[in-house]
């Protein structure tokens, strides 16, 4: 691929830093902040783009695993809701980021229904809660590693490398 994605992203940063930002008037604070954020967003994209599909595929497998675990933890009607979502997302193309995202939403909507249990009318077992928390911990860690370039996470120094969590 010529020119490469990396090269074009680098060029964008250079254009903002060398041309656009210096041309912004001193009193245009919002424009200055937007230029800084643009540089930061592009830096994050450079870190992420090569792994974006793998990251989304990992998110899909994780939430699918949660749905599979919950099937055994809930009543029959709820298990049916989950099974329908599992069937609908079976065999999704793991190289298609949009298909992966749609599948994540399908599974997530079914799981949400089970968690809410008709607004508290149906119980949620301790086992189901523990499974959701275990899933949530993995999901949160992946997200924190993925977006650590934003500099917001107060514990970002302690995060593992991306390869360990993707």
């Amino acid at each position: 691929m010529l020119p490469s994605i990396d090269l074009r992203l680098k060029n964008m940063v250079k254009a903002v830093q060398d041309v656009i930002a210096p041309a912004i008037r001193e009193d245009e604070k919002l424009a200055q902040e937007q230029a800084r954020l643009l540089v930061g967003q592009i830096a994050m994209l450079r870190y992420q783009w090569k792994d974006a599909v793998r990251y989304e595929a990992g998110s899909f497998r994780l939430i699918r695993g949660l749905a599979e675990t919950l099937v055994a933890q809930v009543d029959e009607s709820q298990a049916q809701v989950l099974q329908q979502a599992l069937d609908a997302t079976d065999g999704v193309d793991e190289l298609d980021i949009d298909a992966l995202n749609a599948a994540i939403c399908t599974l997530g909507n079914a799981i949400d229904k089970v968690i809410l249990g008709d607004d508290g009318q149906k119980p949620l077992s301790a086992g189901a809660r523990a499974a959701i928390i275990a899933y949530g911990e993995k999901d949160a860690l992946r997200s924190r590693v993925w977006f650590q370039g934003n500099g917001i996470d107060p514990d970002r120094e302690a995060l593992p490398p991306l390869a360990e969590v993707i």
């Binding site: 009193d27 245009e28 604070k29 919002l30 424009a31 200055q32 902040e33 937007q34 954020l37 643009l38 930061g40 967003q41 994050m44 939430i63 949660l66 995202n101 994540i104 939403c105 997530g108 909507n109 799981i111 949400d112 968690i115 809410l116 249990g117 607004d119 508290g120 949620l124 301790a126 809660r129 523990a130 959701i132 928390i133 899933y135 949530g136 911990e137 999901d139 949160a140 860690l141 992946r142 997200s143 924190r144 993925w146 977006f147 934003n150 500099g151 917001i152 996470d153 107060p154 514990d155």
Partner: protein
Amino acid sequence: MNTAGQPDPWDRTAIDPRQNVVLERTLEYRARGAYRPRTGDEIAAMLRRYFDHLGYGAPQISNVRRMSGGASKEQFAFNIVHDGAPEGERLILRMDPPEGIAQTCRGREAQLQNAMIGTLPVAPVRHVDLDAEIFDQPAAILEFVHGVTEPSNSDAKGVSGMGTRFDDWAPKLAPQFVDAFVKVHGFDWTAANLSLFAKPRPGTIDAPLWELNNWAKLWWNAVVEPVPVITLCERWLRENMPVCDKVVVVHSDLRIGNFMFEEPSGKFTAILDWELGHLGDFHEDIAWTLMRLFGNWDDKGRFLVSGLLPRDEFLEQYQRLSGNTVDPRKLHYYEVLNAYKCASMDMGQAIRAAEEHTNHQEQVLTWLGSAGGVFLEQICKLIQEDI
């Protein structure tokens, strides 16, 4: 309502009426389509129209400057000269974009801010266009207050103030920071004009229920991608609601980036951003400011609340000076609620507004949205303590 006079914690209709109007209005604004940030000339024209409507004689608007900072409102500083004030003055326009990271009411903010005059340093609110009758969007006109939210010489500056290091400034700022909580929670709101606020009953779960319903509605109206932990968190919050014994003013966002001070004295000149303020439980404010996202580490390896003082010192000073005793179970509940609020804002409303292009600085929204994992981790940890 059950026999003990407590509402059903799953009753989603139990919500502050004015806040409900704002949330419903958000859907109408969203349907109007993408928003383009206004130019200085457009803002000047809107201001002239507004001051004409208010009866200011021959208002002349100049030097309109868009302000940075904040994650939800559009703000402009401007000069105005009119027949009643030929010498002119500088004021602030604080205006809603169609959607921001949070959906709030300019009128409620103004009532609370003006009620605090004489109790705390605040920017007085002169006028409010509550439902966008004159402006294109709801807006308020505030007096200009001088000061900074982060030291001018600081190298560590972040979005919405987060990540700012105060270093040598901390000893000057920390006592005023604690004092602000004491004064907000000690304020006698019963005599103030807070007509846009519903009043929760003490000894009931009104306060946490209304608050949770507000944020849950924001989340469900915005959700772009389901997040199971956020849904589990909502269920946990409904199952564990504590009674609010004493109803106080809750600022709701009193933390790093939301106090302004003058240099070099360090004297507070304004407590900012009252938009999330409401009547509720003081634990909500304490739990909010203790959040790790709003703090940072000093060179001695201590974690500092809002970059100012260690958690234990903050709690000790607050309790001693306010006379309020912090109940660890209630504090825990509000830590969960606050993490839920942040997750709803960052992973729901912020992302939705960015997707719909209904904000003036969508880059900020997606930047903050990318911090969602921090809150999910917090929710998991906090709920696990209870399981």
